[in-house]
């Protein structure tokens, strides 16, 4: 499996770390201290632990650890590992290790 890194070009997937499914918005930081704390727990639980785990195209995060140290948003088919669109989420600024998504 080769991932076409927008910065480094096509590289073997072993240079990258897969961070899994992209998507799910992180619950707002202040929701954890909202009075309705049960819902906050549930929202964070869903965000941290639950996955769609689709059969087919999945948007996922890959970190180019042995390359440009960018986080990439990769479309990949979980049935056959075919890779579609890839884009860098945020290039690292000078003196900074990769930008978090």
């Amino acid at each position: 499996m080769r991932i076409p890194c927008p910065i480094c070009g096509p590289r073997g997937h072993e240079e990258f770390v897969c961070h899994g499914e992209a998507g799910g918005a992180r619950p707002a930081a202040d929701s954890a201290v909202a009075p309705d704390a049960v819902d906050a727990m549930r929202a964070f639980h869903d965000y941290v632990y639950l996955r769609a785990n689709p059969l087919g195209t999945q948007r996922e995060l890959w970190y180019h650890a042995a390359g440009c140290e960018c986080w990439l948003l990769v479309e990949r088919d979980t049935r056959n590992h075919a890779i579609g669109a890839v884009r860098a989420l945020r290039p690292p600024a000078d003196g900074e290790a990769g930008g978090a998504p």
Partner: protein, 416 residues
């Protein structure tokens, strides 16, 4: 037909032409008391224990392919109960005890071979960790023996003991661990369940789960609607997809794990050996091939094949542990799709849909758990309550914080 020395002699005398099929090939009926979705090891064991232990024989096992065609026939056949955490040890030890009596129980030769499982350690710190694990096992009545380098060398003289970077200092041995013929487990449970009246239905893919007013009423399948008030899902690898038919999202990702077998050689490896400085486990099949594996590939996959980087990584681990492996040729490699859960431990629990039960998240340790998984899931389906041995495998533990994370990796399925 009951198998015995007499049935074997009678068949031998008549040229082995009279063996009946091991199980019927029934048409699905319109309704059952309980349906088990997934005819792998866990599903078949569940159906068997439902019938034998709970007297529930109006049961169908629905399998989309054929019996033995899924993960039960794709694993590395290892059984053991060398766990550390309280939620795990009694469950896996019960499983090992069921393995020990399985062949008499189901009247089928599953080639259960307790040849011992060795976990190598390479440093003082790792030795301490294994002493702790061994003590935890012994507190729970599980066998564990700590071997020093000299004792280990006697058992396995082919190991690279004095590697400059990862010298082998000894091993934790579980003598009762070993291997089981995996296909025979599927066939044996299918036959035993069938003999008790369970319908084992192959080529029957579940395509929908019918839920009315919050309760399950049956499943849509490639062979029509089949009604049941109790439906148990045992389709690890594809649990997320099947559960999604009932509107559930699970704490699970599907990942591919590769396994390998070498050309056959004369007996070399006495039991199961796992490397402690990398991830590599190996045993030798009765046919002579070395069966081994390592890590999952690390990305979501439903493809039953992996990539070469993992092959290289696994083989490097093997060569570091046992350089003589380098003289062998690989015969085959293949991949299986795993339910990787968020804490590396399984789920045996009810769901928010009444009558719908879940058996999932086995990561890549499901084979050894087959008997206990079936035992506890049958209990759940029959009584509606968790079996005490599986009480920790709750679906809501991710919300309550009662995780069972043997490796301490956090919610990253590709690191378990």
């Amino acid at each position: 037909m009951r198998y015995s020395i007499f049935s074997l002699l009678a068949q031998a005398a008549t040229g082995h032409r009279g063996w009946p099929p091991m199980w019927r090939n029934p048409e699905p009926r319109r309704a059952y008391e309980a349906i088990v979705v997934g005819g792998g090891g866990h599903g078949l064991a569940t159906a068997y224990y439902l019938a034998r232990k709970h007297g529930l024989t109006d049961v169908a096992v629905l399998e989309k392919g054929w019996i033995g065609g899924g993960n039960v026939g794709r694993n590395t056949t290892i059984i053991r109960s060398n766990y550390l955490l309280p939620g795990n040890i009694p469950f896996y030890e019960h499983s090992l005890k069921l393995w020990e009596g399985l062949e008499r129980d189901i009247n089928y030769n599953a080639m259960v071979s307790q040849r011992g499982v060795l976990n190598l350690f390479h440093s003082d710190a790792q030795r301490d960790a294994f002493v702790r694990r061994g003590n935890a096992m012994r507190v729970h009545g599980v066998d564990a023996v700590l071997l020093d380098a000299r004792e280990l060398r006697r058992l396995a003289p082919f190991l690279e003991m004095d590697d400059a970077r990862f010298p082998i200092r000894g091993a934790l041995l579980q003598p009762r661990g070993g291997t089981v013929r995996h296909d025979a487990v599927a066939w044996g449970y299918a036959r035993a369940a069938d003999r008790l009246g369970v319908d084992v239905i192959q080529n029957c893919e579940v395509t929908g789960i019918r839920v009315e007013r919050g309760a399950v009423t049956g499943v849509e399948s490639s062979r029509g609607f089949i009604a049941a008030r109790r439906v148990g899902l045992a389709c690890a690898g594809h649990s997320s997809r099947v559960a999604a038919m009932a509107g559930l999202r699970l704490p699970i990702e599907s990942h591919v794990l590769q396994a390998f077998v070498s050309e056959a050689i004369k007996p070399l490896i006495p039991g199961v050996i796992t490397y402690g400085a990398g991830h590599f486990y190996v045993s030798q099949s009765d046919k002579g091939g070395l069966v081994f594996g390592g890590d999952i590939d690390g990305y979501n996959s439903y493809a039953q094949r992996g990539n070469l980087a993992t092959v290289e990584d696994v083989v490097e681990g093997g060569l570091a542990m046992m350089p003589s492996l380098g003289r062998l040729r690989l015969l085959r490699s293949w991949g299986g799709v795993m339910d990787m859960s968020m804490d590396g431990s399984p789920i045996i629990d009810r769901t928010e849909v009444e009558g719908l039960y879940l058996n999932a998240g086995w990561c890549y340790g499901g084979f050894k758990a087959t008997p206990a998984s079936g035992w506890c899931f049958a209990h759940l389906l029959a009584t509606g309550g968790s079996h005490p041995l599986a009480a920790a495998y709750r679906l809501d533990r991710f919300l309550s914080g009662e995780l069972i994370d043997e490796k301490g990796q956090g919610p990253h399925p590709n690191r378990h």
